[in-house]
Symmetry: C2
Subunit: 383 residues, 2 copies
């Protein structure tokens, strides 16, 4: 492809959302676009998959209440979330974190029409919120981590939404900041919403958020996700967890959308979570760390290239290239059948801020990542 | 429970939606509430379940485009839907028919705020449509089947929504009526939306709807569902299929909610659909017919009791009891741990019309249905 054609290619897709760019990658062997888990099964995970017929029959014979309770028990405890409200119907199993997000958004908009949202973050969060009719105000990431939120912001919104660890930056709201944020939300009667879908990759995000939220007593909702962690072919659960005082019609809207997730998926989540607690998470963290090192190693020393998220342990990695637009690099990589994400759409309030970064997914086979990083290196070295 | 307590019980739940009543039944062994498939696997279905580990590995190695195409190919062809637009991205795989419904509703409301909807029908359809902000006008079932829709109605709405076969009545829009309805919609530039989730139970609903819709050329959308047919523990797909001229942001909203359904679920649907085409559907129809006969036989001869849907072949059966409220019967059955649905909420425009009917789910083991029908008989015989 010639430069002029590359320009046409990038122009054609510049307004596509991130998921639409992910579709383009789905059938490619060099798909580093979406954040789904596409690495190989570990030995102990393969044993679980081998037992699927028995798990199916066991699930068919067990009351779904027990399966749900075992699944969220294993998952939340593996992630250090011991004070989650598992016993009183405040943990709703959804088909995915995005379905949980859709249900939460529809519940929120019945009372709230202005919301503050972390900037940048994955674009389907602002798109779903805006899609149901909510107006958004950005919270810059530095502001969130460095100081209290301005009273004027909190007075102007009914809810605050924070992704932690954030996607794509990997930044984590620490316990002290979460407590203060929850206190501010309580003082302003603002609902605090968290998306913690990537917390399984980062021990710093595994302090007990529910203990903090319940102690502070603000109105809150948390979206949890099993879908980013394990190569279960997208058999996953997104959980929507809410405070007893939330007082939004979450249950009702949930009941409009689903009766429940598959009993087999609940069982699978339970088994993968137990495996994770028994060493699987450590193995996963080491695997992602290896992949991150491979990408950084392959790209080291290229002029103008940097890694903005030096402390991230998440399963995605941003690469910044000064002097080259992300859509341009995206199109050049695509020409080589390598798919990544350009980052402008993560910057939902100011896309220009993402114009120099692309995102690599790391939950892939290591040799695939190495080969894709080499392709990027050769594209950048050729100018 | 004494009559006074029964009254309290029914009063407490009279405003619950049908899915909320279905939750109450989920952990009971005598759950005839929801329309999910809870019968035993047939011999050939059990063979598929036994091969889950191999299907998992094959699915992991196959491009998802191929898995999708095989899944909808097998499913739509098994149901006689040969002209469905499978080749050009107009068949979107969703986690469930309700997720397809949510996506369609969110797309519709960007252009349309008034819609006509079949009355009665399952209450999550009006609830989702109203939940996104659409105002509904009822289409009585007799009117739909007997004559053209009034011009005044079509002039006042942007879309018409019809469930066929209907839930709970089992009534099917025949080919001639569908063609006329599509023509009327085309003439009035009204979008025709169909939910055909129960069509697998009824050969009368298996003429090629897509051939009719495409020939007439109106704007249309169809929700299809694998979820009611087979005891796959709710591993299922809801498909959202749209006309090329629909011109609503369905693709964009789909991309806000999901990247795709599980490759393993696609493979499972393909295999169950092939099994269905090779005799599985005939076996299913016979099974449901047996269960319907057992229920009707057990309840025959009770004074004031009748079966309003004499020609239904669907996996649900309504029972009408003159002189007794459906909530009252529901509560009395629940006291015996038998769960059914009272029908008032199906009548979303006029709940009083459903006050004398309850709905039995038939996709259950035959001996369970027999025992539950006996319980109802004894409750009614005791007055």
């Amino acid at each position: 492809m010639q430069p002029a054609e590359l320009k046409t290619e990038s122009a054609a897709y510049v307004d596509a959302n991130l998921t639409q760019l992910e579709y383009l990658a789905l059938n490619s062997e060099m798909n580093l676009a979406d954040g789904h888990a596409r690495q190989a099964l570990t030995t102990s995970q393969a044993v679980i998959i081998d037992s699927l017929p028995e798990l199916f029959r066991m699930s068919a014979e067990t009351p779904v209440e027990q399966l749900e309770s075992r699944a969220h028990g294993a998952f939340f405890h593996a992630l250090g979330q011991h004070e989650y409200p598992g016993a009183d119907g405040r943990v709703l199993a959804c088909y995915s974190s995005s379905v949980a997000m859709e249900i939460l958004s529809r519940a929120v908009v019945t009372e709230i029409d202005q919301m503050a949202l972390l900037h940048p973050t994955f674009d389907n969060i602002p798109d779903i919120l805006r899609g149901v009719g909510i107006t958004l105000r950005p919270i810059e990431e530095d502001l969130l981590h460095d100081a209290d939120l301005p009273d004027s912001l909190l007075d102007s919104v009914g809810a605050v939404f924070v992704t932690t660890p954030n996607n794509p930056t990997g930044r984590v709201v620490d316990e002290e900041r979460l407590r203060r944020l929850a206190e501010q939300c309580r003082e302003h009667d603002v609902v605090l919403c968290l998306d913690t879908s990537f917390r399984g990759f980062d021990p710093r995000a595994q302090y007990d958020h529910y203990a903090v939220l319940e102690q502070v007593g603000c109105r809150w909702a948390v979206v949890e996700d099993t879908g980013k962690l394990w190569p279960t072919l997208d058999l996953k659960v997104g959980w929507l967890v809410t405070s007893a005082n939330l007082n939004l019609p979450v249950d009702r809207i949930y009941s409009d959308i689903l009766l429940g997730v598959s009993p087999l998926i609940l069982t699978l989540v339970e088994h993968f979570a137990r495996d994770a607690a028994n060493g699987g998470f450590a193995e996963l963290h080491e695997f992602i760390q290896t992949n991150r090192s491979v990408v950084r190693g392959q790209l080291a020393g290229l002029p103008g290239l940097s890694f903005p998220d030096l402390h991230s342990t998440s399963s995605v990695e941003r690469v910044q290239v000064d002097g080259r637009s992300s859509m341009d690099i995206w199109a050049a990589l695509r020409e080589e059948n390598v798919h990544v994400l350009p980052c402008h759409r993560f910057h939902w309030f100011n896309p220009a801020e993402g114009d120099r970064t692309i995102r690599f997914a790391l939950a892939r086979q290591t040799n695939l990542l190495e080969s894709c990083a080499k392709t990027l290196r050769s594209i950048l070295a050729d100018g």
